[in-house]
């Protein structure tokens, strides 16, 4: 009987009865051929690959991360409880040491979901990785977490949630935002004033192939991870860098994904995007599973794989190298950059317009963070969705200092409920989730 080198947990939840709409890329059919390939290859029979049934996340698991507007039931479907639950199940199996690593092969995805949720953007309603990470922080006392987002689209939702958190390193490798949704994830996006350098963006030019992506992993991601010393590494394993993906322009392959996984050695991988459901996903997912399990994947390749056709040009290579050098330079100068960013401010503001492409919602946010040397800082978000709700949300981080805690409660207690549809408090330190409105 075949044995996996690394005991690997797998949650496979293809949600065969759930779609955003019948012809939407995020539809029933998406993981059908992946299932066929995984079954036919007999991957679930391998000793040491253990399939788990996903648990559901609880309301509190979601509220630990998100401010759901108008409420949780409006933004969560049954399927979201399961896909976030699948990620949580895998994380628990890893934390309980039932397995060495785990892969949540679930849908719908989550990495475009911000802290404040008015609806769906980029096919995502809630951030399944963040829900998972904050759960294991609460349940297992994990502190330092690194998220490496290898989806072709910038993981703007995850970036938003961890923007101010110095204990979470968020690295996103993606196709340059000037050429692809969501149009963000540039070099200059380095994290909030209390967490400069803990957000890292590696925007790559269109037509980057395995050579460029693996260069970024080897030369940038791995050295930074080594320095950051995370307790766990999470891979947001989007599969839309594939050369056959219909909505992106990159040239990655199944072999490349398997090698990326081998290099990165994530403790937990969570599926994100990837819409070449026939030509890529079956082979990429099989490759990731074999790589996680430490097994041979050298015979795995797409039927139409042609290395010559997808080789990157010299110009792309030069561009990739330049970007990578710049990312490393920023990383090494992060303390200096933080000083420059903070100046003498005690409170800093950010003003943003956020568009929800899936649900066509226009949100305007004014964010205020307390500049702090000892914690992530108290955070206040005033968020209004055009023609919809206007809310105020206060977030008090896990390792909060006393001054920031007081600031957070001051914001919440003094909020005028006549001005907002709802006022939310998320006190991660005191484990308090509460809200108030004029009605009550």
């Amino acid at each position: 009987m075949l044995r996996a080198k690394n005991r690997t947990g797998l949650v496979f939840f293809p949600a065969f009865d759930w779609a955003i709409s019948p012809t939407h890329p995020e539809r029933e059919e998406r993981l059908l051929y992946t299932q066929d390939q995984v079954f036919e290859e007999g991957l679930l029979d391998i000793e040491g690959i253990i399939e788990y049934k996903p648990d559901l996340v609880t309301k509190k698991d979601v509220q630990r991360v998100h401010f759901c507007v108008p409420d949780l039931w409006a933004v969560m479907t049954e399927s979201h409880f399961i896909s976030a639950g699948g990620a949580k199940t895998i994380a628990m199996a890893v934390m309980d040491k039932q397995v060495e690593r785990g892969f949540a092969l679930v849908r719908p995805p989550g990495h475009h979901a911000n802290r404040v949720v008015h609806g769906a953007r980029g096919f995502c309603n809630v951030n399944i990785e963040a829900i998972m990470i904050e759960y294991i922080r609460k349940a297992y006392g994990v502190n330092r977490v690194a998220i490496v987002d290898t989806d072709c689209h910038h993981g703007d939702g995850t970036q938003d949630i961890y923007w101010h958190d110095p204990d979470t390193l968020f690295i996103s490798i993606h196709q340059d935002g000037r050429t692809l949704y969501p149009g963000s994830g540039f070099l200059s996006e380095l994290g909030g004033p209390n967490a400069v350098g803990s957000t890292i963006n590696i925007p790559l030019p269109p037509n980057t192939s395995g050579e460029g992506i693996l260069h970024a992993i080897r030369e940038v991601v791995l050295p930074i991870l080594k320095e950051f010393q995370p307790d766990i590494v999470v891979n947001s394993a989007g599969q839309d860098n594939h050369y056959s993906d219909p909505i992106t322009n990159m040239n990655f392959s199944a072999q490349g994904y398997a090698e990326l996984t081998t290099l990165l050695k994530p403790d937990i991988a969570v599926l994100e995007g990837g819409y070449a459901i026939e030509g890529a996903l079956p082979y990429v997912n099989a490759g990731i599973i074999l790589a996680m399990a430490g097994m041979d994947y050298s015979h795995l390749q797409e039927p139409d794989f042609d290395p010559v056709k997808i080789r990157q040009s010299a110009e792309v290579s030069r561009w990739v190298h330049k970007i990578c050098d710049k990312v490393l330079e920023n990383w090494h100068q992060r303390r200096h950059l933080a000083d420059v960013c903070r100046g003498d401010y005690q409170l800093m503001n950010r003003d943003r317009d956020i568009y929800y492409d899936t649900d066509n919602i226009h949100e305007h946010q004014q964010e205020t963070i307390r500049v702090c040397d000892s914690c992530g800082g108290a955070l206040r978000i005033d968020s209004a969705a055009r023609g919809m709700k206007h809310i105020l949300a206060v977030h008090i981080p896990r390792n909060v200092c006393e001054s920031c805690r007081k600031q957070g409660y001051l914001w919440y207690d003094s909020a005028d409920t006549t001005r907002y549809d709802k006022v939310y408090l998320q006190d991660r330190c005191g484990d308090v989730i509460t809200e108030k409105s004029q009605a009550n």
């Binding site: 059908l32 049934k53 082979y283 099989a286 015979h299 039927p303």
Partner: protein
């Protein structure tokens, strides 16, 4: 009248069933080196003085092929495998004569790379040169498109005695298991064929012409002639016989556990609303994981004759059996000795039983009664714990739709049916230690043979339609047809049930009383760009395991006469 025959490790149970109920029951010693003689003796003895014309069927559950596989006493067979991209096919090597050839088919059944006829012919030459007579041919995704297996089969022509094609063996997706299953079929083909031809011929010579059927591990039977193409479906049918023997006495509206307590082992299974649960993939035998349909059963090394030892002040029961209970002259203490000492059961030499428990009591530093009670309780508790784990594993089985996960109810059996030699004794202990109702299956010592006799013919059909490619196929049934783009899930279900009906009748089912069941029917819109280009439809249907129509009167009669 129906004959049920179940070959066990030490005894072979044979029953004769009629409209009047259980007419005869006998036990003959199993001669494991000559199962032919054992079966023949059983059949002859049970039919003494009976007009053979009145026997409508004899259903056999034998250990013939199982023993051969477990002991490795199988001939060299050849395997020709075409894999294409994916796992290295070398990983699934079955033996010396295992050849991989070029050729690949993808998940939708499209050809990626053609097979190389020249290479296949060379492989055939070297198989022939090595004296190989039985060959298995398997290609990846052959259940989506069997073209490569068929082409390789054609190239082999009639140069070999028997060629098994993977897609005809099982309909499920699982390439490594398809290889293993095809290999096992080729391996046990000659011994199975010889054995049953010998049985039929010998019976005929004695004037005992009767239709012979074979019990399968899924708790169903098939006609002997149908089994020639699926000889591996005769393995591990023993536990299925016992489970089927308890079906008539199971509640029809809830789940229950079946425990077959034997001398060496206890086999466990779950019945839901009177129907046994099937293993989702297939049976495992030794190192081989297969696609052979089977009941979900678990076997543990605790039985009435399990060896009892005291190690570091703790009682250990089994997993081995060194002989009978000491009360019957065996070498070591057993739970049966404890049962006799406690007065729960009576048999053998009470002095010997006392002697057995005395040694345990001394090692534990306690009195006789306490030692016996602890042995018996531990045996019962181990069985209950393992049964609990089995139910947990069934409940942990992943599902793939929101609906199933959200609606999925947990299995919570509240009744236990016990059968096997020491059933009434163990039932007393199980009753005390569990919250479930515990019932002893009537005629518990031969319920397995009754189960074999009364099991219905079962089978399964896996159907696949792709309206974009305009094909529908059920390769296992040798069925492929062109379909219009308007083909629907309902059309697919109808076609599947039609194939299933024909298959069941061909394997020996009663056409008047077919219980067909759709296990899975899913239709996916295939969208390319922003347009629906077709539907991808998957249907699985089965004749679920159960008892033959009209069994109720027989079962009731058995129940009436069960407690003398």
């Amino acid at each position: 009248m129906i004959i049920g025959l179940d070959v066990g490790g030490t005894h072979t149970d044979v029953v004769l069933l009629g409209k009047e109920g259980l007419l005869r029951q006998i036990k003959v010693r199993t001669n494991s080196s000559d199962l032919f003689a054992t079966v023949l003796a059983g059949l002859e003895k049970i039919t003494e003085g009976i007009d053979p014309a009145r026997i409508s069927r004899a259903v056999l559950s034998t250990t013939l092929t199982t023993n051969r596989i477990v002991q490795g006493r199988i001939p060299e067979v050849g395997m020709i495998v075409s894999a294409g991209p994916g796992m290295d096919p070398e990983l699934f090597r079955t033996g010396e004569h295992y050849y991989t050839v070029i050729g690949a088919i993808d998940h939708r059944g499209r050809e990626i790379a053609p097979i190389d006829a020249g290479r296949v012919l060379k492989v055939a030459d070297s198989l022939k040169k090595n004296g190989i007579r039985y060959v298995g041919v398997v290609s990846k995704f052959s259940v989506r498109n069997p073209a490569h297996e068929v082409a390789i089969g054609d190239l082999l022509g009639d140069r070999f005695e028997k060629v098994f094609l993977g897609h005809r063996i099982a309909g499920k997706l699982n390439f490594p298991r398809r290889i293993a299953t095809t290999f096992l079929n080729a391996s046990v083909y000659p011994v199975h064929k010889d054995f049953f031809e010998a049985v039929v011929n010998s019976l005929a010579k004695k004037g005992l012409r009767m239709p012979i059927r074979i019990l399968k591990p899924d708790g169903g039977n098939m006609r002997f002639d149908a089994s020639i193409d699926h000889p591996a479906q005769t393995i591990l049918s023993g536990p299925a016989a016992s489970v089927m023997g308890s079906v008539a006495f199971a509640p029809k509206d809830e789940a229950c556990l079946v425990l077959d307590v034997g001398g060496t082992t206890t086999d466990m299974a779950v019945l839901v609303n009177g129907a046994p649960l099937l293993d989702p993939m297939g049976i495992s035998i030794g190192e081989h994981q297969t696609l052979i349909r089977s009941l979900a059963t678990v076997s543990i090394g605790v039985g009435g004759d399990s060896a009892v030892r005291v190690v570091d002040g703790k009682i250990h029961i089994g997993p081995d059996r060194l002989g009978m209970a000491m009360a019957y002259g065996g070498p070591v203490p057993t739970p049966t000795d404890a049962i006799f000492l406690l007065g729960i059961g009576h048999g053998g030499d009470p002095e010997k039983a006392r002697e057995a428990i005395q040694s345990v009591a001394e090692a534990l530093g306690t009195n006789l009664q306490d030692a016996a009670r602890r042995i018996f309780e531990q045996a019962c508790r181990t069985i209950l714990d393992e049964a609990g784990s089995m139910v947990d594993r069934i409940n942990a089985k992943p599902v793939y739709t929101v609906h199933e996960l959200w609606e999925g109810h947990r299995l919570q059996p509240r009744q236990i049916l016990v059968l096997g030699g020491p059933a009434p004794w163990f039932a007393k202990g199980l009753e005390r230690l569990s919250e479930s109702r515990v019932t002893v299956v009537p005629r518990w010592t031969v319920a397995n043979a009754i189960g074999a006799g009364l099991a219905r013919t079962t089978c399964e059909v896996t159907f696949f339609a792709d309206t974009e490619r305009k094909i529908a196929t059920a390769p296992e049934e040798n069925f492929t047809t062109v379909i219009p783009s308007t083909y629907t899930k309902e059309d697919a279900i109808n076609a599947t049930l039609d194939l299933l009906r024909r298959k069941a009748i061909g394997r020996g089912a009663n056409p008047e009383h077919l219980e067909l069941e759709v296990l899975e029917a899913m239709s996916f819109n295939m969208v390319r760009g922003f347009h629906t280009t077709g539907r991808n439809i998957r249907v699985t249907a089965q004749v679920k395991p159960g008892l033959i129509h009209g069994y109720d009167p027989i079962a009731e009669k058995i129940l009436d006469s069960s407690f003398p």
